[in-house]
C-alpha cells in the first residue's frame, strides 16, 4: 500500500479544539447534557462559535444514552455531516479519521466528535458493564449460567492466555498499574491519584483472576469532545493545531476457532502499520504513547502490537517502569483509563492532544514530535490508530 497517491490525507487536517467535562463517579448531568457541555468547551477552546460547526459525529457509551440529533441540545443548525457511530472503544479514533477525510474533501469544514456516558446512576459500574441483568434465551443464556459476565471476564481470559503462552507475570501487570498511577499523580483531573506500590497492587482484591481491582479501569461519568478542521483553517485558530499525520484501523474479526490467537494479537498490528506508513515514521519515532488501557494487560499487548516490544515480551518490557515519568517510553501520561478517567477512546485521544500541544504541565513529555493514539473496542476486536504532531511539516501529505 502506498500513500503517494493523488489524495494523501497525512497532515491535511488537525484537531484544533478539546472540551472535557468534570470526570466523576457522581451523577451530575445526563449523557446528553455532558455531551453538550463538552462540545461547548471544545468549540470555545478552538476559538470558534457553534455557527462554525457543520459536522457532528456522536458516540455514546455503554448506556446508549446519546442520539444522532444531539445538535438540537446545542441549537446547532444546518449540519452538512452528522451521524451516530459505534465502534465501541475504538470509536474516538475512527471519528477523527472520518472527520479528517470529510474536512479535506470539503464535505464539511468544522467537525465536532463527541463521546459521553453516564454509567454511574447508583447501580454501580458492574451493573452497567457486566450484563448480568440482561434477559437472554438459547445459547446466549448459557453465559449467564456459566457466570461469564462482562468486559472484566473477557479481558481476564485474554490476559491468562498471554500469561500461559509467554510467561507474562502478575508483577508485570502490576508494573503497568504502578507506572500509570505515577502519571495520574501529575494530572490534576485524574480520578485516582493516591500513592500505589507493587505491594498495594497485589493487596487489592481480586475481581476475576488474573485481574485485581487495580488491573481494571475506573468507570466514569463524563464527556469529551474534539474539533477537527482542515490545516488551512487550523492555522488561524486559538490553539496550536495537532496535525493528524497518520491513521489506520484494524478489525481482525475473532472467529473463536482453533488456530486463532486473537487474545494475544490485536488489530493494533494492522492499524499501527497503516498509521506509521502514512505518517512516514516507525515505533522509534514515537515520543509519547497514549494507549487504550481498560486493563493493565491491554497496555502490554498493545505495546507489542505497535512494535515497541517483540510479541510475547511486553511483560518484561514494562517491568522496569520505563512507561512511567522519566522513563524511556512515556505511556498513558494522563494516568490513562486505569487511574485517569474512562472515556473510552477519548481518554487516550484527549491526553494526546494535550501532549501534542505541549500543555501537559508537570507531566509534559519533551519529545512530543509524534504522539501515538490507540483506541480499541470490544474484547480486543476493533482498533483505530492516530499519529498526531504539532509540526506542520510532519507527515507524508506534502502540505507544508
Amino acid at each position: 500500500m502506498s500513500w503517494s497517491t493523488s489524495f494523501n490525507p497525512s497532515g491535511g487536517a488537525a484537531i484544533v479544539g478539546l472540551g472535557m467535562t468534570e470526570m466523576t463517579r457522581e451523577y451530575t448531568y445526563s449523557a446528553n447534557g455532558l455531551a453538550a457541555l463538552a462540545i461547548r468547551d471544545a468549540i470555545a477552546d478552538a476559538g470558534l462559535t457553534k455557527d462554525d460547526v457543520d459536522g457532528l459525529l456522536v458516540n455514546h457509551g455503554v448506556m446508549g444514552s446519546l442520539r444522532p440529533d444531539l445538535q438540537k441540545s446545542l441549537g446547532i443548525e444546518n449540519l452538512r455531516l452528522q451521524t451516530l457511530m459505534n465502534g465501541q472503544g475504538s470509536t474516538a479514533g475512527q471519528m477523527v479519521q472520518y472527520a479528517s477525510l470529510a474536512v479535506q474533501s470539503g464535505l464539511a469544514n468544522v467537525v465536532v466528535c463527541v463521546f459521553a456516558d453516564d454509567p454511574l446512576r447508583g447501580g454501580g459500574a458492574g451493573a452497567a458493564y457486566g450484563g448480568a441483568g440482561r434477559t437472554t434465551t438459547g445459547m446466549a443464556s448459557l453465559n449467564g449460567y456459566y457466570g461469564h459476565f462482562g468486559a472484566n471476564t473477557g479481558y481476564a481470559l485474554a490476559a491468562r492466555r498471554h500469561m500461559a503462552l509467554y510467561g507474562t507475570t502478575q508483577d508485570q501487570l502490576g508494573a503497568v498499574a504502578v507506572s500509570t498511577r505515577k502519571w495520574a499523580q501529575l494530572n490534576p483531573i485524574a480520578m485516582q491519584r493516591g500513592d500505589m506500590t507493587l505491594e498495594d497492587y497485589h493487596a487489592s482484591r481480586w475481581i476475576v483472576e488474573p485481574f485485581h481491582l487495580l488491573d481494571c479501569t475506573l468507570v466514569t461519568n463524563g464527556a469529551v469532545a474534539v474539533v477537527v478542521t482542515s490545516r488551512d483553517r487550523a492555522k488561524d485558530l486559538k490553539q496550536p493545531p495537532a496535525y493528524i499525520v497518520g491513521m489506520g484501523q484494524g478489525h481482525p474479526g475473532n472467529p473463536r476457532r482453533a488456530g486463532a490467537e486473537y487474545e494475544v494479537n490485536t488489530g493494533a498490528v494492522q492499524a499501527g502499520e497503516t498509521a506509521y506508513e502514512m505518517a512516514g515514521v516507525g515505533p522509534k519515532d514515537i515520543g509519547v504513547r497514549e494507549l487504550y488501557d481498560c486493563y493493565t494487560y491491554t497496555t502490554i499487548v498493545t505495546l507489542e502490537d505497535y512494535g515497541f516490544a517483540p510479541k510475547g515480551e511486553g511483560g518484561p518490557f514494562v517491568e522496569d517502569g520505563k512507561l512511567g515519568p522519566g522513563g524511556s517510553h512515556p505511556t498513558n501520561t494522563g494516568g490513562g483509563e486505569l487511574s485517569g478517567y474512562y472515556m473510552w477512546g477519548m481518554t487516550p485521544l484527549s491526553e494526546a492532544v494535550i501532549q501534542t500541544r505541549g500543555q501537559g504541565g508537570d507531566r509534559q513529555v519533551e519529545d512530543n514530535q509524534h504522539v501515538l493514539v490507540s483506541t480499541q473496542g470490544g474484547i480486543l476486536d476493533m482498533h483505530a490508530s492516530l499519529i498526531l504532531s504539532a509540526d506542520p511539516t510532519a507527515g507524508t501529505g506534502g502540505h507544508a
Binding site: 458492574g126 457486566g130 450484563g131 448480568a132 434465551t137 438459547g138 445459547m139 443464556s141 448459557l142 453465559n143 449467564g144 449460567y145 456459566y146 457466570g147 461469564h148 459476565f149 462482562g150 472484566n152 471476564t153 481476564a156 481470559l157 485474554a158 491468562r160 492466555r161 500461559a164 503462552l165 482484591r205 481480586w206 475481581i207 476475576v208 483472576e209 488474573p210 485481574f211 472467529p255 473463536r256 476457532r257 482453533a258 488456530g259 487474545e263
Partner: protein
C-alpha cells in the same frame, strides 16, 4: 438462589435436546463441512446457509480461564470464587464453559471431556479433566 438457568429457544432446541441425552451438539455446513458452535446461520467459510446438527466428540482442551471473585448475579453468592473458561473443542470451535474441577488445578492446555448437569428445565454442558 442458584445460577440463572438457561432456557431453550427455537433456534437452540436441538442443542438442549442433545444435552438432555448426554450429547454435545454442534452445527456443520452441509456444503463445506465446517463445524460451528450453535447457532450459526451462515457458514463463515463458504457463506452458504445450509446447516445440519452433528454430535461433537465432547473432547477438548482448556484454551484459557479466569477465576471470578466479583458477584455480578446473586445466584453465584455461594459459588465465589468460581471459574470461567473457554474450551477449544476437538472439532475446532471454542465455547465458553465452566470446568468441574478445583480452580487451583486448572492449566491452559489441559485435556477436557464434556459432562452434563441439570440446570432448571435443561441440561448444560460442563467440562471435566480428561
Amino acid at each position: 438462589m442458584s445460577r440463572p438457568a438457561p432456557t431453550s429457544d427455537d433456534a437452540s432446541a436441538p442443542f438442549f435436546e442433545g444435552a438432555a441425552r448426554g450429547k454435545l451438539m454442534l452445527q456443520r455446513c452441509r456444503t463445506c463441512s465446517a463445524t460451528f458452535l450453535p447457532v450459526q446461520e451462515v457458514c463463515t467459510e463458504c457463506l452458504e446457509a445450509d446447516m445440519e446438527w452433528v454430535e461433537s466428540s465432547g473432547e477438548g482442551t482448556l484454551h484459557t480461564f479466569g477465576v471470578m471473585h466479583y458477584l455480578y448475579h446473586p445466584g453465584f453468592a455461594q459459588e465465589l470464587p468460581y471459574n470461567v473458561a473457554v474450551v477449544e473443542l476437538a472439532e475446532g470451535p471454542r465455547m465458553n464453559a465452566r470446568i468441574d474441577a478445583d480452580n487451583d488445578s486448572l492449566e491452559v492446555g489441559m485435556a477436557l471431556k464434556v459432562a452434563f448437569e441439570e440446570a432448571g428445565d435443561v441440561h448444560v454442558p460442563v467440562f471435566q479433566p480428561a
